[in-house]
């Protein structure tokens, strides 16, 4: 079956996956962009990609966090008990993601505002550490949620770290994907020579992800049959995307970027479905209160209004901005 999600959870699952994908795009820009800006600051390179990233990073983080609230809401509907249990097992160590994000957010502002290279490097370094910690924590909690047999022992031992062998390769897979997503987004603002450099970053990202997949397969990871169709779609999309990046490397002004964006979007959507499929085994029967809850029409109308207002805001900025004298 191509669509692995049976009702009555379908609606929540679709919203969860879509909002999660949007969240991932934004936080990818943040983590990979901060790392890129740090590397260029360490190399003392004047780089338009890094400068643009530094300028945009606080805004992107704000959007990424806001976008992350939606999947956080839907995950509590779908996997309430495993999600809460994993939260509680990791305890304050898990809660540290919030101060890490606050520190990271202000580090990005500092990196943007300062003219002192040393402070910029320090601020970007702090940002990379904070956001990597958050990415690691989410990878950890995702796996811990599914490992019910480990809960009791972990609680008894008072462990706050889930040191399962799959955590690091899985994190590596995401870090690779984040490099590619950063390059895709950044390329839309980039000039031709910059796109060539971004193509290298994107291809390197895919290589890192491929290495992570090899490590996961060696560690007995499997893709459940319900997700197979999506796996093939993802592989095809990644193949097209890789070809697109090679094209951009050779002809940066061509239509390669459109192809790459379409293919990476398809790869991301297929990827989040493949990621979700194994977790479906832990999905709970929907609770009556959740199934019977009303309010969807209000949400749908507000969502339409919200999209219209955000589009209007973007157009206002574009059309009405007075050029600086």
């Amino acid at each position: 079956m191509m669509w692995p999600f049976a009702s009555p959870h379908s609606g929540w699952l679709v919203l969860y996956l879509l909002t999660f994908a949007v969240h991932i795009v934004l936080v990818s820009y943040v983590l990979a962009g901060t790392t890129y800006a740090l590397i260029q600051a360490l190399r003392k390179k004047q780089d338009p990609i890094a400068e643009r990233a530094r300028d945009l990073l606080p805004f992107m983080l704000g959007l990424g966090i806001t976008a992350g609230v939606a999947p956080l809401l839907f995950i509590q509907l779908l996997y309430q008990q495993p999600f809460y249990t994993a939260n509680l097992l990791l305890g304050p160590r898990w809660g540290a993601v919030v101060p890490a994000l606050i520190v990271g957010f202000y580090a990005l502002y500092l990196a943007k505002a300062t003219q002192t290279l040393r402070i910029r490097r320090l601020a970007l370094g702090v940002g990379v550490v904070c956001f990597s910690f958050v990415a690691w924590s989410w990878t950890e909690i995702h796996l811990l949620m599914q490992d019910q047999p480990a809960w009791r022992e972990m609680y008894a031992a008072g462990d706050r770290m889930y040191a399962q062998t799959g955590v690091l390769p899985r994190l590596l897979l995401w870090l690779g994907a984040m490099m590619t997503l950063f390059a895709t987004l950044a390329a839309w603002w980039a000039a031709a020579p910059e796109r060539r450099r971004l193509a290298v970053i994107a291809l390197a990202g895919r290589a890192v992800s491929a290495l992570a997949v090899v490590l996961l397969v060696m560690g007995d990871a499997t893709v459940i049959s319900a997700a197979h169709g999506w796996l093939y779609l993802m592989i095809a999309a990644v193949a097209i995307e890789v070809a697109g990046w090679v094209w951009i490397r050779l002809a940066p002004d061509g239509a390669g970027l459109t192809l790459v964006t379409a293919a990476s979007t398809a790869a991301l959507l297929a990827g989040v479905v493949v990621r979700e499929a194994p977790r479906l085994a832990t999905i709970e029967p929907p609770r009556a209160a959740a199934l019977e809850a009303s309010g969807f029409p209000v949400f749908a109308l507000t969502a339409v209004l919200g999209i219209a207002l955000i589009v209007w805001i973007v157009r206002s900025i574009r059309d009405r901005a007075v050029p600086p004298s």
Partner: protein
């Protein structure tokens, strides 16, 4: 897990009781979020005045105040996520129930927050380069969207204390527009505008302007603090609609609660009186130090108000549905038979500390039924609260918990659970000696069961 009650792993926070943990995060979050809401309204007002030619109003809009609003809505958003995570730590079933019941409204609130953050960032980044109309509209969208966030979240929070007709099957909307919805919403709106006015007074004092021009700006900003004057009325409205037992605790039944009500009311009254008499009628100048002092007073009032709101819900976290122990009224009857810990899959982390299985049992019962509001030796320490009671007094008071204190839930365990907790408290009070006798006298257990049966499984004051 084949259990009628979902058990979650329990974390302890040293000497802090969980109410202090959630209270601390909550007060920080509420203070920042409410300032961001009032700040948006105030920015819009000043922008309008500036465009009509009021001197320095535009300068104020583009001053540090704008940055403070931005800081607040970002940290407000993050501390909102922190609230979710902290609520999971202290009462996972409560937040789960709220999500189940109101997820579409929460999603609606999220959309408004997305609008708020888009408009806020757009104004922050592009404001200086936009024309008058676009600036005004962006600030209007920001102000409306941030207030709408409050509108939706307020209904969900108010539902916890006063579910109203929702309890009779009136549906989600009856729960959302519950009896304390409007007083809470107006109360929070007044707090939001007052916080914005006080921060504005501090910022204006830092601006490089002659004193008379600062005074003119302060007079404009202080209009936003005038709603504080109606806080006593809103407070009375709120108290009038909450359940009668909660009202009694606030009005003298529970001295700590009454004191916090007094602190919140007095602080609000002082700020309101200073604003109306001093700033509006007498047109006095307020310097940065005084404004900061009033802001600190407002923080105190916010903290006391949040404490009252949390405390008034006891013995429930969701009135009539879920006790503060995260057990439903229906489940109490089942646990009276099975015992509180029969299905709890999680062992104690410090099991080796206890010399007898009965004390291990007592510690597990304490973790399941007491830990939500008490610690053993820290804040609200149950060992100290009961130290001077006799053994039989302890057994009776725990068995008839909802009669011992009306804001306590009924004991959700059997006679063996009561006796295990009694022995644990006695052992802790005795300084945790290495040897401790097992208490299993059938007559004692029979007496406890009689008390449990007599008191029933309903909350105090309920049939």
């Amino acid at each position: 897990m084949d259990s009628p009650v979902p058990y979650y792993p329990v974390n302890e926070f040293g000497p802090l009781m969980k109410g202090l943990v959630i209270g601390g995060v909550g007060i920080f979050h509420v203070f920042l979020a409410q300032f961001a809401i009032g700040g948006g309204m105030l920015l819009y007002y000043f922008e309008r005045l500036g465009q009509r030619g009021v001197p320095d109003a535009r300068t104020f809009v583009d001053s540090t105040f704008k940055v403070l609003v931005l800081v607040s809505f970002v940290v407000g958003a993050l501390s909102g996520v922190a609230m979710w995570f902290t609520t999971i730590q202290v009462g996972a079933r409560t937040i789960g129930l709220m999500i189940d019941e109101f997820h579409w409204l929460w999603a609606t609130e999220w959309v408004w927050f997305g609008i708020e953050i888009s408009a806020g960032y757009a104004f922050y980044r592009f404001g200086p380069t936009l024309d008058h109309k676009a600036r005004r509209r962006l600030l209007a969208i920001y102000a409306i969207a941030s207030w709408m966030s409050l509108f939706w979240i307020n209904g969900i929070l108010a539902w916890q204390l006063t579910p109203g007709r929702w309890l009779e099957g009136g549906g989600m909307w009856a729960g959302f527009f519950n009896p304390s919805f409007w007083p809470s919403l107006l109360f929070r709106t007044a707090v939001a505008t007052t916080l914005a006015a006080l921060v504005a007074c501090i910022v204006i004092n830092t601006m490089d302007l002659p004193r008379e021009r600062k005074a003119a700006l302060i007079r404009i900003a202080s209009r936003f603090a005038v709603p504080m004057a109606v806080m006593p009325l809103l407070g009375m409205w709120f108290v009038a609609v909450i359940p009668a037992d909660s009202r009694q605790w606030l009005m003298g039944g529970s001295m700590p609660m009454t004191m916090f009500v007094g602190v919140a009311a007095a602080a609000s009254l002082l700020i309101g009186a200073y604003v109306v008499v001093g700033l509006v009628l007498k047109r006095l100048y307020i310097n940065g130090a005084t404004a900061t002092l009033l802001l600190a007073l407002a923080f105190g009032a916010t903290a006391a108000g949040e404490f009252v709101r949390e405390g008034a819900r006891k013995p429930y976290t969701v009135r009539g549905v879920l006790y503060s122990t995260s057990i439903t009224p229906a489940e109490v009857a089942a646990l009276r038979i099975d015992g509180a810990t029969k299905h709890d899959p999680y062992p104690l982390r410090d099991q080796a500390r206890y010399p007898t299985p009965q004390l291990v049992h007592g510690a597990k019962v304490h973790r399941t039924l007491c830990d939500a509001c008490h610690t053993l030796h820290g804040a609200n320490a149950v060992v100290e609260l009961t130290r001077t009671w006799t053994d039989d007094q302890l057994r009776l008071n725990i068995s008839k918990l909802q009669r011992t204190k009306a804001f306590m839930p009924p004991f959700a365990g059997n006679a063996a659970d009561v006796e295990a907790v009694v022995q644990l408290l006695r052992w802790e009070a005795a300084g945790t000696p290495a040897r401790w006798p097992v208490s299993d006298d059938p007559a004692t257990l029979a007496q406890i069961k009689t008390w449990l049966d007599e008191v029933g499984t309903s909350a105090a004051g309920e049939p």
